[in-house]
């Protein structure tokens, strides 16, 4: 048995996939840098908020990634795992990866919102419906991450994690509609409002759109890398590594001619896409 075969997965194969991830990473860095340049130096200050409005090019973007992309994807992947016809550990690993990246973006959302809140509202934090429901979402998905650390068989862990993800995802529409359902300090939706008519225009609108694209690219890159980590962690944790190492020892691996442990010198192939 070739242990390298064990990590085959849709997100790990082929040199093309590896290059695609690299290109996404480079595009993410460039578009984020361009957004920062436009946001800090090119776009005009707001008539009411002045320079403070420049936070709009980062705060809604990280919130978009956390709430809709990351946690939305985690919920969808969990549903696909629970659905018998599509059940696969691929969906479980994808959900786990999306949740971890989403938690980072959720923390960024709360921090950037707090930094905006202090000069705008006079307080770092208020028990406002939008803020509180976002914090609850963070706690729920931190619980998801904690649950995954509980030792269990992969299928058991996947099933209970999927249920928790779906339970936590109920909070996503609550966060979104909180500014409509309750009187809040937080402003209403600028882009995804009920009329779907953005209340921002000109260079500010384009920069806001670019920030969404840039942070989405950052998310996709992080998601793929985190997914690969999940595959490798499962592989190590399952004890298959020990078995694979024993097999390789038994096969009598050729000594390293270069003496430096280099795989190329020894002819030990590294699975495509993992590095």
């Amino acid at each position: 048995m070739n242990p390298n075969q064990r990590v085959r997965s849709p997100l790990l194969q082929s040199a093309r996939a590896r290059w695609t991830v690299r290109i996404i990473g480079i595009a993410a860095v460039l578009s984020t840098a361009f957004t920062v340049w436009l946001g800090l130096w090119v776009t005009p200050p707001d008539q009411v908020q002045g320079d403070l409005v420049r936070l709009v090019y980062i705060h809604p973007g990280v919130a978009w990634v956390a709430l809709y992309l990351a946690f939305g994807l985690a919920a969808a992947a969990s549903l696909l795992y629970l659905w018998p016809r599509t059940r696969s550990l691929f969906w479980d690993r994808l959900a786990a990866a999306a949740v971890e990246v989403g938690v980072v973006f959720n923390v960024c959302t709360l921090i950037s919102g707090s930094i905006w809140g202090k000069p705008a509202w006079g307080v770092w934090w208020a028990w406002d419906a939008r803020l509180t429901s976002t914090a609850v979402l963070l706690v729920l998905f931190l619980g998801y991450m904690a649950l995954r650390r509980v030792p269990a068989e992969p299928e058991v862990r996947a099933r209970r994690s999927a249920f928790l993800a779906l339970f936590a995802a109920v909070d996503i529409p609550i966060v979104h509609f909180s500014v409509l359902w309750w009187k809040t300090l937080h402003q209403g939706a600028t882009v995804l409002n009920p009329d779907l008519s953005p209340t921002i225009h000109g260079s500010m609108a384009w920069t806001l759109l670019l920030s969404f694209v840039a942070l989405t690219l950052v998310f996709v890159w992080m998601l793929v890398v985190r997914y690969r980590i999940g595959v490798l962690e499962d592989w190590l944790g399952s004890g298959e590594l020990d078995a694979a190492l024993r097999e390789r020892q038994a096969e009598g691996v050729a000594p390293d001619p270069a003496g430096d442990g280099s795989e190329a010198a020894a002819g030990a192939p590294v699975p495509e896409g993992v590095r």
Binding site: I111, D256, V270
Partner: protein, 43 residues
């Protein structure tokens, strides 16, 4: 403007540090799984 600078600095730093951590974790695991056996034994 200092709040804006603080916001950009903190958020971009967090995202950068998390990216570095992701790459480091992947590299460490990949070394553990796929390095040649004598490299693993040497470690």
């Amino acid at each position: 403007m200092r709040y804006v600078i603080a916001g950009y600095t903190i958020i971009l730093s967090l995202l950068f540090l998390y990216s570095v951590q992701l790459v480091w974790r992947r590299q460490r695991l990949a070394d553990g799984c796929f390095a040649p056996i004598w490299v693993i034994e040497r470690k």
